[in-house]
Protein backbone atom coordinates (compact mmCIF):
# COMPACT_ATOMS: atom_id res chain seq x y z
CA UNK A 1 0.00 0.00 0.00
CA UNK A 2 1.10 3.56 -0.57
CA UNK A 3 -0.27 6.87 0.62
CA UNK A 4 -0.66 9.04 -2.47
CA UNK A 5 -2.10 12.33 -1.36
CA UNK A 6 -4.96 13.97 0.45
CA UNK A 7 -7.52 13.32 -2.31
CA UNK A 8 -6.56 9.75 -2.84
CA UNK A 9 -7.20 6.78 -0.67
CA UNK A 10 -4.45 4.26 -0.20
CA UNK A 11 -4.52 1.69 -2.96
CA UNK A 12 -3.72 -1.98 -3.20
CA UNK A 13 -1.00 -3.35 -5.51
CA UNK A 14 -3.69 -5.05 -7.62
CA UNK A 15 -5.43 -1.72 -8.04
CA UNK A 16 -2.20 -0.13 -9.23
CA UNK A 17 -1.77 -3.02 -11.69
CA UNK A 18 -5.32 -2.71 -13.01
CA UNK A 19 -5.15 1.06 -13.36
CA UNK A 20 -1.80 0.83 -15.17
CA UNK A 21 -3.16 -1.76 -17.58
CA UNK A 22 -6.28 0.31 -18.21
CA UNK A 23 -4.12 3.29 -19.10
CA UNK A 24 -2.41 1.14 -21.73
CA UNK A 25 -5.61 1.02 -23.80
CA UNK A 26 -6.32 3.90 -26.17
CA UNK A 27 -9.81 5.08 -27.06
CA UNK A 28 -11.18 3.33 -30.14
CA UNK A 29 -8.87 0.34 -29.95
CA UNK A 30 -10.34 -3.11 -30.46
CA UNK A 31 -9.49 -5.30 -27.57
CA UNK A 32 -9.78 -9.08 -27.05
CA UNK A 33 -10.39 -9.57 -23.35
CA UNK A 34 -10.10 -12.46 -20.93
CA UNK A 35 -11.94 -12.88 -17.62
CA UNK A 36 -10.43 -11.61 -14.37
CA UNK A 37 -7.75 -8.91 -14.22
CA UNK A 38 -7.82 -8.16 -17.98
CA UNK A 39 -11.60 -7.77 -17.99
CA UNK A 40 -11.42 -5.43 -15.01
CA UNK A 41 -8.71 -3.31 -16.63
CA UNK A 42 -10.42 -3.14 -20.02
CA UNK A 43 -13.74 -2.11 -18.51
CA UNK A 44 -12.03 0.46 -16.31
CA UNK A 45 -10.52 1.96 -19.46
CA UNK A 46 -13.94 1.99 -21.12
CA UNK A 47 -15.51 3.71 -18.10
CA UNK A 48 -12.77 6.34 -17.88
CA UNK A 49 -10.56 7.64 -20.72
CA UNK A 50 -11.55 5.22 -23.51
CA UNK A 51 -15.35 5.20 -23.86
CA UNK A 52 -15.18 3.94 -27.45
CA UNK A 53 -12.83 1.03 -26.84
CA UNK A 54 -14.34 -2.07 -28.46
CA UNK A 55 -14.34 -5.08 -26.15
CA UNK A 56 -14.53 -8.59 -27.58
CA UNK A 57 -14.81 -11.70 -25.41
CA UNK A 58 -14.06 -15.15 -26.80
CA UNK A 59 -17.66 -16.19 -26.11
CA UNK A 60 -18.46 -14.28 -29.32
CA UNK A 61 -19.75 -11.09 -27.71
CA UNK A 62 -18.48 -8.18 -29.81
CA UNK A 63 -18.59 -4.53 -28.78
CA UNK A 64 -19.99 -5.37 -25.38
CA UNK A 65 -20.47 -2.81 -22.58
CA UNK A 66 -21.20 -4.75 -19.41
CA UNK A 67 -22.43 -2.65 -16.50
CA UNK A 68 -20.91 -5.11 -14.08
CA UNK A 69 -17.88 -7.34 -14.48
CA UNK A 70 -18.73 -10.77 -15.85
CA UNK A 71 -17.92 -13.68 -13.59
CA UNK A 72 -17.56 -16.06 -16.51
CA UNK A 73 -16.60 -15.44 -20.10
CA UNK A 74 -20.15 -16.31 -21.13
CA UNK A 75 -22.29 -14.29 -18.72
CA UNK A 76 -25.66 -13.24 -20.15
CA UNK A 77 -24.73 -9.61 -19.44
CA UNK A 78 -22.04 -9.81 -22.13
CA UNK A 79 -24.53 -10.95 -24.76
CA UNK A 80 -27.25 -8.50 -23.76
CA UNK A 81 -24.93 -5.49 -23.92
CA UNK A 82 -23.11 -6.49 -27.13
CA UNK A 83 -23.32 -4.89 -30.57
CA UNK A 84 -23.45 -8.40 -31.94
CA UNK A 85 -23.00 -11.97 -30.79
CA UNK A 86 -21.30 -14.46 -33.08
CA UNK A 87 -20.37 -18.11 -32.77
CA UNK A 88 -17.08 -19.15 -31.19
CA UNK A 89 -15.63 -20.43 -34.50
CA UNK A 90 -16.40 -17.06 -36.02
CA UNK A 91 -14.89 -14.97 -33.24
CA UNK A 92 -11.60 -16.81 -33.74
CA UNK A 93 -11.67 -16.88 -37.57
CA UNK A 94 -13.26 -13.66 -38.87
CA UNK A 95 -12.38 -11.47 -35.88
CA UNK A 96 -9.15 -12.58 -34.18
CA UNK A 97 -7.35 -14.38 -37.03
CA UNK A 98 -8.90 -11.88 -39.44
CA UNK A 99 -6.55 -9.26 -37.99
CA UNK A 100 -9.25 -7.07 -36.46
CA UNK A 101 -7.87 -7.10 -32.89
CA UNK A 102 -5.51 -4.27 -31.90
CA UNK A 103 -4.79 -5.45 -28.38
CA UNK A 104 -5.03 -8.85 -26.74
CA UNK A 105 -4.91 -9.15 -22.94
CA UNK A 106 -3.34 -12.27 -21.49
CA UNK A 107 -2.45 -13.65 -18.12
CA UNK A 108 -0.71 -16.91 -17.20
CA UNK A 109 0.73 -18.97 -14.35
CA UNK A 110 4.31 -18.51 -15.57
CA UNK A 111 6.23 -16.11 -17.77
CA UNK A 112 9.87 -16.15 -18.85
CA UNK A 113 12.26 -13.38 -19.88
CA UNK A 114 11.01 -13.53 -23.49
CA UNK A 115 7.37 -13.16 -22.60
CA UNK A 116 6.48 -16.79 -23.26
CA UNK A 117 3.45 -17.80 -21.21
CA UNK A 118 2.54 -21.05 -19.50
CA UNK A 119 -1.02 -21.87 -18.52
CA UNK A 120 -0.85 -25.61 -19.14
CA UNK A 121 1.17 -27.52 -16.52
CA UNK A 122 3.63 -27.10 -13.68
CA UNK A 123 6.10 -29.94 -14.09
CA UNK A 124 6.14 -32.23 -17.10
CA UNK A 125 3.22 -32.46 -19.52
CA UNK A 126 2.75 -36.20 -19.10
CA UNK A 127 3.21 -36.27 -15.33
CA UNK A 128 2.42 -32.77 -14.13
CA UNK A 129 2.80 -31.61 -10.54
CA UNK A 130 -0.07 -29.22 -11.15
CA UNK A 131 -2.41 -29.49 -14.07
CA UNK A 132 -3.49 -25.96 -15.03
CA UNK A 133 -6.60 -25.20 -17.12
CA UNK A 134 -4.74 -25.02 -20.42
CA UNK A 135 -4.60 -22.85 -23.48
CA UNK A 136 -8.11 -21.53 -24.09
CA UNK A 137 -7.92 -18.68 -26.56
CA UNK A 138 -4.42 -17.59 -25.54
CA UNK A 139 -2.16 -19.14 -28.23
CA UNK A 140 -4.01 -17.45 -31.08
CA UNK A 141 -4.39 -14.16 -29.21
CA UNK A 142 -0.61 -14.29 -28.78
CA UNK A 143 -0.30 -15.04 -32.48
CA UNK A 144 -2.82 -12.72 -34.13
CA UNK A 145 -3.53 -9.68 -31.94
CA UNK A 146 -1.70 -6.56 -33.08
CA UNK A 147 0.01 -6.43 -29.71
CA UNK A 148 -0.37 -8.26 -26.41
CA UNK A 149 -0.64 -6.76 -22.94
CA UNK A 150 0.29 -9.28 -20.25
CA UNK A 151 -0.99 -8.87 -16.71
CA UNK A 152 0.17 -11.07 -13.88
CA UNK A 153 1.37 -10.81 -10.32
CA UNK A 154 5.14 -10.84 -10.06
CA UNK A 155 6.81 -13.40 -7.80
CA UNK A 156 9.39 -16.15 -8.00
CA UNK A 157 6.74 -18.77 -8.85
CA UNK A 158 5.35 -16.79 -11.80
CA UNK A 159 8.48 -15.07 -13.16
CA UNK A 160 10.68 -18.05 -13.95
CA UNK A 161 13.96 -18.70 -15.70
CA UNK A 162 12.27 -21.19 -18.00
CA UNK A 163 8.55 -21.85 -18.29
CA UNK A 164 7.57 -25.50 -17.87
CA UNK A 165 5.48 -25.34 -21.04
CA UNK A 166 5.11 -22.67 -23.71
CA UNK A 167 1.34 -22.42 -24.05
CA UNK A 168 1.39 -19.04 -25.80
CA UNK A 169 4.46 -17.76 -27.52
CA UNK A 170 5.99 -14.44 -26.60
CA UNK A 171 9.28 -14.19 -28.47
CA UNK A 172 10.13 -17.89 -28.25
CA UNK A 173 12.49 -19.68 -25.89
CA UNK A 174 15.47 -17.98 -27.56
CA UNK A 175 13.83 -14.59 -28.12
CA UNK A 176 13.52 -15.22 -31.87
CA UNK A 177 10.38 -17.29 -32.05
CA UNK A 178 7.69 -15.25 -33.71
CA UNK A 179 7.90 -16.98 -37.10
CA UNK A 180 4.41 -18.05 -38.14
CA UNK A 181 2.74 -15.38 -36.00
CA UNK A 182 1.52 -12.14 -37.53
CA UNK A 183 1.04 -9.96 -34.45
CA UNK A 184 3.92 -8.08 -32.79
CA UNK A 185 3.76 -10.11 -29.59
CA UNK A 186 3.92 -8.81 -26.01
CA UNK A 187 4.39 -5.04 -25.92
CA UNK A 188 4.21 -4.70 -22.15
CA UNK A 189 3.95 -6.82 -19.02
CA UNK A 190 2.14 -5.15 -16.15
CA UNK A 191 2.49 -6.60 -12.68
CA UNK A 192 1.65 -5.62 -9.12
CA UNK A 193 5.23 -4.34 -8.78
CA UNK A 194 5.92 -2.49 -12.02
CA UNK A 195 6.02 -2.45 -15.78
CA UNK A 196 8.27 -4.45 -18.11
CA UNK A 197 8.79 -4.03 -21.83
CA UNK A 198 10.68 -6.22 -24.30
CA UNK A 199 13.99 -4.79 -25.51
CA UNK A 200 13.59 -3.69 -29.12
CA UNK A 201 16.49 -5.84 -30.28
CA UNK A 202 16.92 -8.77 -27.90
CA UNK A 203 13.22 -8.94 -26.94
CA UNK A 204 14.25 -9.57 -23.33
CA UNK A 205 11.78 -8.15 -20.82
CA UNK A 206 13.19 -5.09 -19.12
CA UNK A 207 11.83 -3.37 -16.03
CA UNK A 208 10.95 0.13 -17.26
CA UNK A 209 8.87 1.37 -14.32
CA UNK A 210 8.12 0.47 -10.74
CA UNK A 211 4.94 1.29 -8.93
CA UNK A 212 5.01 3.86 -6.08
CA UNK A 213 6.24 2.28 -2.88
CA UNK A 214 7.97 -0.61 -4.66
CA UNK A 215 11.77 -0.87 -4.73
CA UNK A 216 13.87 -2.17 -7.58
CA UNK A 217 15.05 -4.81 -5.19
CA UNK A 218 11.46 -6.00 -4.65
CA UNK A 219 11.12 -6.48 -8.40
CA UNK A 220 14.51 -8.17 -8.82
CA UNK A 221 13.81 -10.54 -5.92
CA UNK A 222 10.41 -11.43 -7.36
CA UNK A 223 11.96 -12.41 -10.68
CA UNK A 224 13.42 -15.84 -11.33
CA UNK A 225 15.96 -14.60 -13.82
CA UNK A 226 18.57 -11.87 -13.76
CA UNK A 227 16.21 -8.96 -14.40
CA UNK A 228 17.29 -6.16 -16.74
CA UNK A 229 16.44 -2.78 -15.26
CA UNK A 230 16.14 0.31 -17.39
CA UNK A 231 18.17 3.36 -16.40
CA UNK A 232 16.58 5.79 -15.81
CA UNK A 233 13.68 3.87 -14.29
CA UNK A 234 10.22 5.43 -14.26
CA UNK A 235 7.88 5.42 -11.32
CA UNK A 236 4.27 4.77 -12.26
CA UNK A 237 1.85 7.61 -11.69
CA UNK A 238 -0.30 6.53 -8.74
CA UNK A 239 -3.99 5.97 -9.40
CA UNK A 240 -5.95 9.20 -9.49
CA UNK A 241 -8.89 9.50 -7.20
CA UNK A 242 -11.16 9.34 -10.24
CA UNK A 243 -9.56 6.10 -11.44
CA UNK A 244 -9.83 4.55 -8.00
CA UNK A 245 -13.41 5.67 -7.57
CA UNK A 246 -14.43 4.28 -10.94
CA UNK A 247 -12.68 0.97 -10.30
CA UNK A 248 -14.08 0.54 -6.81
CA UNK A 249 -17.53 1.52 -7.93
CA UNK A 250 -17.36 -1.09 -10.69
CA UNK A 251 -16.21 -3.72 -8.21
CA UNK A 252 -18.93 -2.83 -5.70
CA UNK A 253 -21.63 -2.86 -8.40
CA UNK A 254 -20.35 -6.23 -9.53
CA UNK A 255 -20.37 -7.75 -6.03
CA UNK A 256 -23.90 -6.53 -5.38
CA UNK A 257 -25.27 -7.76 -8.68
CA UNK A 258 -23.69 -11.19 -8.38
CA UNK A 259 -25.00 -11.57 -4.83
CA UNK A 260 -28.49 -10.61 -6.00
CA UNK A 261 -28.35 -13.07 -8.89
CA UNK A 262 -27.04 -15.89 -6.75
CA UNK A 263 -30.02 -15.47 -4.48
CA UNK A 264 -32.37 -15.81 -7.44
CA UNK A 265 -30.61 -18.46 -9.53
CA UNK A 266 -32.36 -21.42 -7.97
CA UNK A 267 -35.86 -19.99 -7.91
CA UNK A 268 -35.89 -19.12 -11.59
Amino acid sequence: MAETGPDQATFAPDEMMTVTAARGLRNGQVCFVGIGLPSEAANLARLSHAPDVVLIYESGTIGTRPEILPLSIGDGELAEMADLVVSVPEVFSYWLQGGRIDVGFLSAAQIDRYGNLNSTVIGSYDHPDVRLPGAGGAPEIASSAGEVIVMLRQNSRSFVESVDFVTSVGFGRDGEGRIGNVGAGPSVVITDLGVLRPDAVSHELTLVAIHPGVSVDDAVTATGWDLLVSDPLDVTEPPTSAELATLRDLQARTREAHARREASAIDH
Binding site: I35, E58, S59, G60, T61, L71, S72, I73, G74, D75, G76, L78, A79, E80, A82, L84, V85, V86, S87, V88, P89, F92, S93, L96, Q97, N116, T120, Y125, P128, D129, V130, R131, L132, P133, G134, A135, G136, G137, A138, P139, E140, A142, S143, F165, V166, T167, S168, V169, R178, I179, G180, N181, V182, R261, E262, S264, A265, I266, D267, H268
Partner: protein, 284 residues
Protein backbone atom coordinates in the same frame (compact mmCIF):
# COMPACT_ATOMS: atom_id res chain seq x y z
CA UNK B 1 -36.69 -35.57 -38.32
CA UNK B 2 -35.97 -35.32 -34.59
CA UNK B 3 -38.02 -37.46 -32.24
CA UNK B 4 -39.27 -35.91 -29.03
CA UNK B 5 -38.36 -38.38 -26.30
CA UNK B 6 -37.44 -38.55 -22.63
CA UNK B 7 -33.88 -37.71 -21.66
CA UNK B 8 -33.42 -41.19 -20.17
CA UNK B 9 -34.42 -42.78 -23.48
CA UNK B 10 -32.27 -40.39 -25.54
CA UNK B 11 -29.16 -41.11 -23.45
CA UNK B 12 -29.99 -44.82 -23.33
CA UNK B 13 -30.37 -45.08 -27.09
CA UNK B 14 -27.73 -42.68 -28.41
CA UNK B 15 -24.82 -42.84 -25.94
CA UNK B 16 -23.24 -46.30 -26.00
CA UNK B 17 -20.28 -47.06 -23.76
CA UNK B 18 -17.06 -46.13 -25.55
CA UNK B 19 -18.65 -43.39 -27.64
CA UNK B 20 -17.04 -40.05 -28.45
CA UNK B 21 -19.46 -37.57 -26.92
CA UNK B 22 -19.37 -33.80 -27.35
CA UNK B 23 -21.38 -31.80 -24.84
CA UNK B 24 -21.13 -28.17 -25.84
CA UNK B 25 -22.37 -24.87 -24.47
CA UNK B 26 -19.92 -22.02 -23.90
CA UNK B 27 -20.63 -21.16 -20.24
CA UNK B 28 -24.24 -20.60 -21.40
CA UNK B 29 -26.62 -23.53 -22.11
CA UNK B 30 -24.40 -26.31 -20.78
CA UNK B 31 -26.35 -29.60 -20.95
CA UNK B 32 -25.87 -30.61 -17.29
CA UNK B 33 -29.05 -32.70 -17.07
CA UNK B 34 -27.81 -34.91 -19.90
CA UNK B 35 -24.43 -35.33 -18.17
CA UNK B 36 -26.19 -36.34 -14.96
CA UNK B 37 -28.29 -38.86 -16.86
CA UNK B 38 -25.10 -40.42 -18.30
CA UNK B 39 -23.83 -40.75 -14.72
CA UNK B 40 -27.12 -42.32 -13.58
CA UNK B 41 -26.89 -44.80 -16.46
CA UNK B 42 -23.24 -45.52 -15.51
CA UNK B 43 -21.82 -44.84 -18.98
CA UNK B 44 -18.25 -46.07 -19.38
CA UNK B 45 -15.16 -45.42 -21.48
CA UNK B 46 -16.53 -42.26 -23.03
CA UNK B 47 -14.22 -39.95 -24.92
CA UNK B 48 -15.52 -36.57 -23.86
CA UNK B 49 -15.06 -33.62 -26.23
CA UNK B 50 -15.73 -30.09 -25.07
CA UNK B 51 -13.90 -26.79 -25.44
CA UNK B 52 -14.35 -25.92 -21.75
CA UNK B 53 -14.83 -29.07 -19.64
CA UNK B 54 -16.40 -27.02 -16.81
CA UNK B 55 -18.10 -28.69 -13.85
CA UNK B 56 -20.09 -31.00 -16.14
CA UNK B 57 -16.99 -32.95 -17.19
CA UNK B 58 -15.46 -32.67 -13.72
CA UNK B 59 -18.46 -34.70 -12.59
CA UNK B 60 -18.27 -37.26 -15.41
CA UNK B 61 -14.50 -37.66 -14.99
CA UNK B 62 -14.80 -37.93 -11.21
CA UNK B 63 -17.45 -40.64 -11.59
CA UNK B 64 -15.13 -42.64 -13.85
CA UNK B 65 -17.22 -42.33 -17.03
CA UNK B 66 -14.37 -40.95 -19.17
CA UNK B 67 -11.53 -42.70 -20.90
CA UNK B 68 -10.41 -39.62 -22.79
CA UNK B 69 -10.82 -35.87 -22.92
CA UNK B 70 -10.61 -33.64 -26.00
CA UNK B 71 -10.56 -30.05 -24.79
CA UNK B 72 -8.98 -26.60 -24.78
CA UNK B 73 -9.59 -25.05 -21.32
CA UNK B 74 -10.24 -27.12 -18.22
CA UNK B 75 -11.02 -24.74 -15.37
CA UNK B 76 -13.93 -23.77 -13.14
CA UNK B 77 -14.83 -20.41 -14.77
CA UNK B 78 -14.39 -17.50 -12.42
CA UNK B 79 -13.43 -19.85 -9.57
CA UNK B 80 -10.27 -21.85 -10.27
CA UNK B 81 -9.40 -25.50 -10.73
CA UNK B 82 -11.50 -28.48 -11.71
CA UNK B 83 -10.33 -30.79 -8.93
CA UNK B 84 -11.68 -34.07 -10.31
CA UNK B 85 -10.06 -33.32 -13.69
CA UNK B 86 -6.80 -32.53 -11.91
CA UNK B 87 -7.00 -35.63 -9.76
CA UNK B 88 -7.44 -37.76 -12.87
CA UNK B 89 -4.55 -36.13 -14.71
CA UNK B 90 -2.20 -35.74 -11.75
CA UNK B 91 -2.95 -39.02 -9.91
CA UNK B 92 -4.94 -41.20 -12.27
CA UNK B 93 -7.92 -41.17 -9.92
CA UNK B 94 -10.47 -42.74 -10.37
CA UNK B 95 -8.72 -43.70 -13.60
CA UNK B 96 -6.14 -42.19 -15.88
CA UNK B 97 -7.59 -40.24 -18.81
CA UNK B 98 -6.03 -39.68 -22.16
CA UNK B 99 -5.80 -35.99 -23.09
CA UNK B 100 -6.11 -34.56 -26.58
CA UNK B 101 -5.51 -30.91 -25.95
CA UNK B 102 -5.99 -27.95 -28.28
CA UNK B 103 -6.40 -24.23 -28.23
CA UNK B 104 -9.92 -22.79 -28.48
CA UNK B 105 -9.27 -21.75 -32.05
CA UNK B 106 -8.05 -25.24 -32.86
CA UNK B 107 -11.11 -26.89 -31.31
CA UNK B 108 -13.46 -24.48 -33.07
CA UNK B 109 -11.71 -25.17 -36.38
CA UNK B 110 -11.98 -28.92 -35.79
CA UNK B 111 -15.73 -28.75 -35.21
CA UNK B 112 -16.22 -26.38 -38.19
CA UNK B 113 -14.29 -28.79 -40.42
CA UNK B 114 -16.53 -31.60 -39.20
CA UNK B 115 -19.67 -29.57 -39.91
CA UNK B 116 -18.29 -28.70 -43.36
CA UNK B 117 -17.64 -32.30 -44.35
CA UNK B 118 -13.91 -31.67 -44.65
CA UNK B 119 -11.27 -33.97 -43.20
CA UNK B 120 -9.27 -31.07 -41.77
CA UNK B 121 -9.34 -27.37 -41.07
CA UNK B 122 -6.66 -24.71 -41.38
CA UNK B 123 -5.72 -21.95 -38.95
CA UNK B 124 -2.83 -19.68 -38.16
CA UNK B 125 -2.05 -21.16 -34.80
CA UNK B 126 0.16 -23.23 -32.52
CA UNK B 127 3.35 -21.69 -33.99
CA UNK B 128 5.86 -21.50 -31.15
CA UNK B 129 3.56 -23.32 -28.72
CA UNK B 130 4.60 -26.58 -27.04
CA UNK B 131 1.07 -27.81 -27.74
CA UNK B 132 2.29 -28.67 -31.24
CA UNK B 133 4.34 -31.54 -29.85
CA UNK B 134 1.51 -32.93 -27.73
CA UNK B 135 -1.58 -32.96 -29.91
CA UNK B 136 -3.03 -33.72 -33.34
CA UNK B 137 -1.73 -30.78 -35.35
CA UNK B 138 0.11 -30.91 -38.66
CA UNK B 139 1.89 -28.15 -40.54
CA UNK B 140 0.43 -27.32 -43.95
CA UNK B 141 1.87 -25.06 -46.63
CA UNK B 142 -0.20 -22.55 -48.58
CA UNK B 143 0.13 -23.55 -52.25
CA UNK B 144 -0.10 -19.90 -53.31
CA UNK B 145 2.09 -18.00 -50.82
CA UNK B 146 4.25 -20.69 -49.24
CA UNK B 147 3.15 -19.65 -45.75
CA UNK B 148 3.19 -22.45 -43.19
CA UNK B 149 -0.04 -22.84 -41.24
CA UNK B 150 -1.57 -25.35 -38.87
CA UNK B 151 -3.93 -28.13 -39.98
CA UNK B 152 -6.18 -29.82 -37.44
CA UNK B 153 -8.26 -32.95 -38.05
CA UNK B 154 -12.04 -32.63 -38.27
CA UNK B 155 -13.82 -33.55 -35.05
CA UNK B 156 -16.85 -35.78 -35.68
CA UNK B 157 -18.41 -36.92 -32.41
CA UNK B 158 -20.55 -40.04 -32.33
CA UNK B 159 -23.10 -37.93 -30.55
CA UNK B 160 -23.29 -34.25 -29.68
CA UNK B 161 -25.44 -33.13 -26.77
CA UNK B 162 -26.57 -29.54 -26.29
CA UNK B 163 -29.20 -27.63 -24.33
CA UNK B 164 -31.41 -25.02 -26.01
CA UNK B 165 -34.28 -22.79 -25.02
CA UNK B 166 -36.96 -24.17 -27.32
CA UNK B 167 -38.10 -26.83 -29.70
CA UNK B 168 -41.34 -26.93 -31.61
CA UNK B 169 -43.45 -30.06 -31.84
CA UNK B 170 -41.76 -31.10 -35.08
CA UNK B 171 -38.37 -31.00 -33.35
CA UNK B 172 -37.02 -27.76 -34.83
CA UNK B 173 -34.68 -26.22 -32.25
CA UNK B 174 -34.34 -22.52 -31.41
CA UNK B 175 -31.80 -20.86 -29.15
CA UNK B 176 -30.39 -17.41 -28.55
CA UNK B 177 -27.68 -15.60 -26.68
CA UNK B 178 -24.13 -16.94 -26.61
CA UNK B 179 -24.24 -19.95 -28.93
CA UNK B 180 -20.61 -21.05 -28.69
CA UNK B 181 -19.76 -23.91 -30.99
CA UNK B 182 -23.04 -25.80 -30.56
CA UNK B 183 -24.30 -25.54 -34.11
CA UNK B 184 -21.03 -26.81 -35.53
CA UNK B 185 -20.85 -29.58 -32.90
CA UNK B 186 -24.36 -30.80 -33.84
CA UNK B 187 -23.74 -30.57 -37.59
CA UNK B 188 -20.40 -32.40 -37.21
CA UNK B 189 -21.85 -35.30 -35.23
CA UNK B 190 -23.29 -38.61 -36.37
CA UNK B 191 -26.25 -38.12 -34.02
CA UNK B 192 -27.43 -35.48 -31.59
CA UNK B 193 -29.50 -34.92 -28.47
CA UNK B 194 -30.95 -31.52 -27.67
CA UNK B 195 -32.48 -30.92 -24.26
CA UNK B 196 -34.80 -27.91 -24.20
CA UNK B 197 -36.42 -25.64 -21.65
CA UNK B 198 -39.78 -25.92 -23.38
CA UNK B 199 -41.60 -27.42 -26.34
CA UNK B 200 -43.78 -24.83 -28.08
CA UNK B 201 -46.14 -24.60 -31.03
CA UNK B 202 -44.01 -21.97 -32.78
CA UNK B 203 -40.39 -21.03 -32.14
CA UNK B 204 -40.01 -17.46 -30.91
CA UNK B 205 -36.85 -15.43 -31.32
CA UNK B 206 -36.53 -13.38 -28.17
CA UNK B 207 -32.88 -12.50 -27.82
CA UNK B 208 -29.66 -11.64 -29.62
CA UNK B 209 -28.05 -14.08 -32.07
CA UNK B 210 -31.03 -16.31 -32.70
CA UNK B 211 -29.92 -19.69 -33.97
CA UNK B 212 -32.10 -22.38 -35.49
CA UNK B 213 -31.41 -26.06 -36.10
CA UNK B 214 -34.00 -27.66 -38.41
CA UNK B 215 -35.52 -30.86 -37.09
CA UNK B 216 -33.86 -32.96 -39.78
CA UNK B 217 -30.41 -32.02 -38.43
CA UNK B 218 -31.22 -33.33 -34.94
CA UNK B 219 -31.77 -36.91 -33.75
CA UNK B 220 -33.59 -36.51 -30.44
CA UNK B 221 -35.17 -33.64 -28.52
CA UNK B 222 -35.86 -34.07 -24.80
CA UNK B 223 -37.79 -31.48 -22.79
CA UNK B 224 -35.82 -30.81 -19.58
CA UNK B 225 -36.76 -27.52 -17.90
CA UNK B 226 -33.80 -26.12 -16.00
CA UNK B 227 -31.60 -28.68 -17.77
CA UNK B 228 -28.58 -26.39 -17.84
CA UNK B 229 -28.26 -25.82 -14.07
CA UNK B 230 -25.82 -24.59 -12.70
CA UNK B 231 -25.14 -23.02 -16.13
CA UNK B 232 -28.01 -20.92 -17.45
CA UNK B 233 -30.50 -20.59 -20.28
CA UNK B 234 -30.91 -16.96 -21.29
CA UNK B 235 -34.55 -15.94 -20.89
CA UNK B 236 -35.29 -18.86 -18.55
CA UNK B 237 -32.69 -19.20 -15.80
CA UNK B 238 -29.67 -17.32 -14.47
CA UNK B 239 -26.23 -18.77 -13.85
CA UNK B 240 -25.91 -20.25 -10.35
CA UNK B 241 -22.59 -18.62 -9.55
CA UNK B 242 -22.85 -19.68 -5.91
CA UNK B 243 -22.96 -23.30 -7.00
CA UNK B 244 -19.82 -22.90 -9.10
CA UNK B 245 -18.07 -21.46 -6.05
CA UNK B 246 -19.38 -24.21 -3.78
CA UNK B 247 -18.24 -26.82 -6.26
CA UNK B 248 -14.66 -25.93 -5.43
CA UNK B 249 -15.23 -27.21 -1.90
CA UNK B 250 -17.37 -30.19 -2.90
CA UNK B 251 -14.96 -31.44 -5.54
CA UNK B 252 -11.67 -30.88 -3.71
CA UNK B 253 -12.08 -34.02 -1.61
CA UNK B 254 -12.77 -37.42 -3.18
CA UNK B 255 -15.21 -38.54 -0.51
CA UNK B 256 -17.11 -35.28 -0.34
CA UNK B 257 -17.42 -35.41 -4.09
CA UNK B 258 -18.69 -39.00 -4.10
CA UNK B 259 -21.21 -38.32 -1.38
CA UNK B 260 -22.50 -35.26 -3.21
CA UNK B 261 -22.79 -37.09 -6.51
CA UNK B 262 -24.63 -39.93 -4.83
CA UNK B 263 -27.07 -37.67 -3.04
CA UNK B 264 -27.77 -35.18 -5.83
CA UNK B 265 -27.35 -37.21 -9.01
CA UNK B 266 -27.12 -41.01 -8.61
CA UNK B 267 -29.92 -41.23 -6.06
CA UNK B 268 -32.24 -38.73 -7.76
CA UNK B 269 -34.63 -40.22 -10.27
CA UNK B 270 -34.38 -37.44 -12.84
CA UNK B 271 -33.52 -33.79 -13.37
CA UNK B 272 -36.68 -32.48 -11.70
CA UNK B 273 -35.73 -34.39 -8.56
CA UNK B 274 -32.18 -33.00 -8.79
CA UNK B 275 -33.50 -29.44 -9.04
CA UNK B 276 -35.78 -30.04 -6.05
CA UNK B 277 -32.86 -31.24 -3.98
CA UNK B 278 -30.64 -28.34 -5.06
CA UNK B 279 -33.37 -25.87 -4.29
CA UNK B 280 -34.08 -27.35 -0.82
CA UNK B 281 -30.36 -27.37 -0.14
CA UNK B 282 -29.96 -23.72 -1.14
CA UNK B 283 -32.94 -22.64 0.92
CA UNK B 284 -32.26 -24.99 3.83
Amino acid sequence: MAEIVSLADAVGDLVPDGATVAMEGFTHLIPFAAGHEMIRQQKKDLTLARMTPDVIYDQLIGMGCARGLIFSWGGNPGVGSLHRFRDAVEHGHPRAIELEEHSHAGMATRYAAGASGLPFGVLRGYAGSDLLAHTSVARITCPFTGEELAAVPALRPDVTVIHAQQADRKGNVGMWGISGVQREAVLAARSSIVTVEEVVDELTATGPNHVMLPTWTVTAVAPVPGGSHPSYSMGFTTRDNAFYTEWDGISRDRDTFSAWMREFVVDTSDHAAYLDKISNHANG
